[in-house]
Symmetry: C2
Amino acid sequence: MRAGASMDALLVVRSGSAKRFTLTLEGTEQVHGFVLPGEAVGLEGFATGRYGCEVSALEPLSYCRVPMRKLEQLLERLPGLRREMLRLLGQALDEALRLRGELAETDARGRVARFLADLSVRLARRGFPPHEIRLSMSRADIARHLGLTLETVSRAFGTFKREGWLRVRARNISVLRPEALAALIGATPCV
Amino acid sequence: MRAGASMDALLVVRSGSAKRFTLTLEGTEQVHGFVLPGEAVGLEGFATGRYGCEVSALEPLSYCRVPMRKLEQLLERLPGLRREMLRLLGQALDEALRLRGELAETDARGRVARFLADLSVRLARRGFPPHEIRLSMSRADIARHLGLTLETVSRAFGTFKREGWLRVRARNISVLRPEALAALIGATPCV
DNA sequence: GCGGCAATTTGATCCGTATCAAAATCTGAC
DNA sequence: GTCAGATTTTGATACGGATCAAATTGCCGC
């Protein structure tokens, strides 16, 4: 999906994962987030009729495509779908606001902890084991998502590993002490 | 408007301004943004049926209230309103994403410049002079919105004043060189 | 105009993360 | 298994903004 392209369909990822981002004037990526199975992309396109960001797959991926024409027809007939669309958009908005607030007031390790906790919740929601995380994105992607440098992200993983909270082998993360991560960010652990 | 309260209406500010925020566990405010005339609040409530953040007036304010029951009836009958609601939500989402990205990659003065430029655009949109800004919020509110401390915000204003880009007298800001601020953030100036 | 309080500005120091640099590890192709 | 290239980790230093503290300014009642 390309930013600026005409929004002719809503896309929902079925399997695999993807990266949502925009390109800055300097050509660097602003990583808005990562898309997991069951999640929709392109919602911000309702603003102008054109997609507002780029989405690229991080691994082989399959998705479902709902043409706008079809969507409008369905919205005409199904009050339940109308509510569901508003719910979906409201949730995306709520998440974006929440993420933004956290960025503003949490330090590097807190952000990484929250990133992992968030992934855990979303994996659990889809029935995957929440504490065995296979990261499909690079440290650089994570860093650009969290407003940090890749070195700082790496150091945060290093700290958590030394504390015995995580097992880290490249992109395979085992969360050994979810309650420790949760305590760091003031939340209740997933599972 | 209180976070967690049942979302029984959509609110649109008519005159005056307000602050959107959530309370953190420590009791501090995460300021999501400021509401100007013509702008809606409470959209994130579609996610759960409950408002997701607090909104409090920064000055005497009037607003328009659309009960959810009424809204659903209207959505049933008016395809144009359906599109408009989706557009409104898409725009809120797009803005939230954009703001978040900027927070992650801009330094203190850049954020303050962007804050002022954004206000200029929104004031101009409603027919107010874009370069005479009367801030209805405190430095602390601005700081919490931008993920800075109030001292840092003050220093940014101080720098811009010394450079001759701004006239600052307490909460009255005159933008003397909009193109300088715009250049700082890589954008075209408003007006 | 004057007094008192809150908001803002200014100053000095410290800490966390960015930056630059280099070593170590992982990955996929052969 | 081995090799080359990319990714990740680790190390040393520098800088921006946070923090603590104090002075100044603006605001509102009298």
